[in-house]
């Protein structure tokens, strides 16, 4: 049975439809990322799940029970807010103990649990500190410990790392992921950073304009984007307007591109978009073959492990990513032949 099931969920603020017709199932123990640009409805969806907003329509089920009308304080979902929302008037230990006090946990048990949680997030002996005396990373960990103190049914995180520098952010991503695996807590993580979503999640829910665009593993959404939005939002891609020629061929600007499958029944002149990741383009020195696709080199950026080649082909821009070793053989050429990886390029 799925842990969390969302059925036909809607939320409007006046005439603005923040979240539209969301259907989603989240498996027990999984780490799910809601990913999308700002204003796509991901935070609203999370707030509805938390109970901080009431949906305009639809249902939320947890392990088969309808919780749509249940009050926030009765849900036992832990939430880490973007601002972390650590209580400034309480010290670290009292912040963590807050939820335990709500439940009337006896003092001895409570103190032992707080120490245990502080040890878990690698911050022993700071219980007496004031919250504003902590560093950014320490605050994050206290917020995580405070959330875990709840022994939550569901763990919600709203862009908790967005204010941190890249290094600390990477570090905490790894930490939160391993904690989540050890404790096996179903987790939802909201982010607008596709790299963060790709590295941390079991399942990515890509959202735009209040709707779910695609649900899949990081690999699936990268390799098999469901539409042009997903292809453009996650990673870089060349999106080419093509016509379907037959079951294995598309035609771009009159040139045939052969793929393993177009995924469509052959229907002449059917318009589609070809999604080709920069690493799915192969470049070579033109050998004079007739149907070769030739492109002019516009700009080259050598970025350590890869070389970005910006090309222009029949008025369209193309981006290819190749290895420095390949680039060495091509250097000096003003025109290159482009071939598309037939297995990796996807027709949308």
């Amino acid at each position: 049975m799925s842990h969390l099931r969302i059925e036909r969920l809607n939320k409007s603020f006046g005439s603005f439809r923040a979240v539209e017709d969301i259907d989603l199932e989240i498996a027990e123990g999984s780490f799910v990322c809601f990913l999308g640009p700002s204003g796509c409805g991901k935070t609203t969806l999370m707030r509805i799940i938390a109970g901080l907003e009431q949906p305009s329509g639809g249902r939320i089920m947890v392990r088969g029970a309808d919780i749509t009308r249940k009050h926030v304080h009765e849900r036992n979902f832990a939430m880490i807010f973007q601002s972390l929302a650590l209580f400034p008037h309480l010290n670290v230990a009292d912040n963590i103990a807050y939820t335990l006090r709500m439940r009337g946990v006896p003092r001895m048990t409570l103190e032992a649990r707080v120490d245990e949680l502080l040890a878990l997030v690698d911050l022993p002996d700071i219980g007496r500190r004031r919250v504003d005396e902590l560093s950014g990373g320490q605050k994050q960990r206290v917020a995580i410990a405070r959330a875990l103190a709840q022994d939550p049914t569901l763990f919600l995180m709203d862009e908790p790392f967005s204010a941190l520098d890249a290094k600390l952010r990477d570090h905490l991503q790894i930490e939160i992921r391993s904690l989540q695996k050890t404790l096996n807590i179903t987790t939802i993580f909201v982010t607008h950073d596709q790299r963060e979503a790709m590295t941390i999640a079991d399942v990515i829910v890509v959202m735009a304009d209040g709707r779910i665009q695609q649900v899949g593993t990081p690999n699936e959404v990268y390799r098999r984007p469901a539409n042009a939005f997903v292809a453009g939002f996650i990673g870089r891609s060349n999106l080419l307007p093509v016509e379907i020629a037959d079951a294995r061929t598309v035609s771009w600007k009159g040139r045939p591109i052969t793929l393993h499958t177009t995924g469509r029944a052959a229907a002449a002149d059917q318009h589609a978009t070809l999604c080709a990741r920069p690493e799915n383009l192969a470049l070579s020195v033109p050998d004079g073959a007739n149907d070769a696709l030739l492109a002019q080199v516009d700009l080259v950026r050598e970025v350590g492990s890869e070389v970005e080649v910006h090309l222009r082909c029949a008025g369209e821009r193309l981006l290819a990513s190749i290895t420095p070793a390949v680039w060495e053989r091509l250097q000096g050429q003003r025109e290159l032949a482009v071939t598309f990886d037939p297995a990796r390029c996807v027709v949308l």
Binding site: H73, F77, M79, A85, F87, P88, M102, R103, Q150
Partner: protein
């Protein structure tokens, strides 16, 4: 002298070098010169009256001289008589009642206004600030009319069917409290509002996700996080209430006279200025004790 000059130089290097390219000695002279102004004000408006008050309290009553003559501790030995103690007790009780009602009204009000948009906030602040323009006398007499038998609130109550016949609601302790609450409300509101609007709204939501029912979360976040501001409001309210003069006189019975009214009675009706001065000094000590006590509580 040279020590303090280097201090200034190290703490404000930019201010001293870039903005004021004056020699150090002249800079110090300028600062000292500027300080004379507030010191003069303090001496003229605060210290001199205080010293006169102390001097008067230590004088011997003299039927011929209003402020008394010579030296005597007679005024202070009179302090602990029932009239004074009763009035002091009542003043403290009134301060507690007014503080409690004002906080209970101003905290939710400030919370609601802080949740409004900019436009709404501005108009509410203007409306609340504008009541500060009304004098204590005007407010007290307006309340007297409002609570009167003929034109007051009780007529509205009768009209609404809540009361059978109009009655006069003053003089009454409730009337004194209502008027004082009206008087101190803007001070309390303005003390609470800035801190409240700065407080992160997600704190309140976080408390709820952690299992606190909304009312409990409101108390734990808005009341406890605002303890310093609530303490300051209670201190301001208490001091104003201890010194209240017109409202208890207009809206209360003699039993509802605050210490301020008693001082006036002793001074003008009793023609005993040294005794009045001694009571005033007692009130000053009481006020300082309240402020210190609240400051201590709010810090912990």
């Amino acid at each position: 002298m040279s020590q303090s000059a280097t201090d200034i130089h190290t703490t404000h290097p930019k201010a001293a070098t870039a903005v004021h390219p004056l020699p150090k000695s002249r800079l110090l002279g300028l600062q000292a010169g500027l300080l004379i102004w507030p010191v003069l004000f303090l001496v003229a408006l605060f210290l001199t009256p205080l010293l006169l008050l102390i001097r008067t309290s230590l004088a011997q009553t003299d039927p011929a001289v209003f402020q008394g003559t010579g030296f005597s501790t007679e005024a202070f030995s009179q302090l602990f008589q029932p009239l004074i103690l009763q009035s002091l007790g009542f003043s403290i009780l009134l301060a507690v009642a007014v503080s409690a009602v004002t906080i209970a009204a101003a905290l939710p009000a400030a919370y609601l206004v802080s949740r409004l948009g900019r436009f709404g906030q501005t108009w509410w602040l203007i409306a609340i600030l504008s009541t500060l323009a009304l004098s204590e006398v005007l407010i007290a007499f307006s309340w007297q009319v409002l609570l009167s038998h003929r034109a007051g609130l009780s007529n509205v109550m009768v009209f609404l069917g809540i009361m059978d016949a109009p009655v006069s609601l003053s003089p009454h302790m409730g009337a004194v409290v209502a008027c004082m609450v009206y008087f101190v409300f803007p001070f309390t509101f303005l003390t609470l509002f800035p801190a409240l609007s700065r407080l992160d709204r997600s704190l309140f939501e976080a408390a709820q996700t952690m299992g606190a029912a909304p009312l409990r979360a409101f108390f734990d976040i808005y009341v406890r996080a605002l303890k310093p501001q609530i303490g300051a409001s209670i201190a301001i309210t208490s001091v104003i209430t201890l010194g209240a003069f017109v409202p208890p006189l207009v809206l209360g019975r003699p039993a509802h006279w605050t210490i301020g009214v008693v001082i006036n009675e002793v001074a003008l009706s009793g023609q005993n200025l040294p005794f009045a001065a001694a009571i005033a000094i007692l009130v000053i000590f009481l006020s300082l004790t309240i402020i210190a006590g609240i400051g201590r509580l709010a810090r912990h």
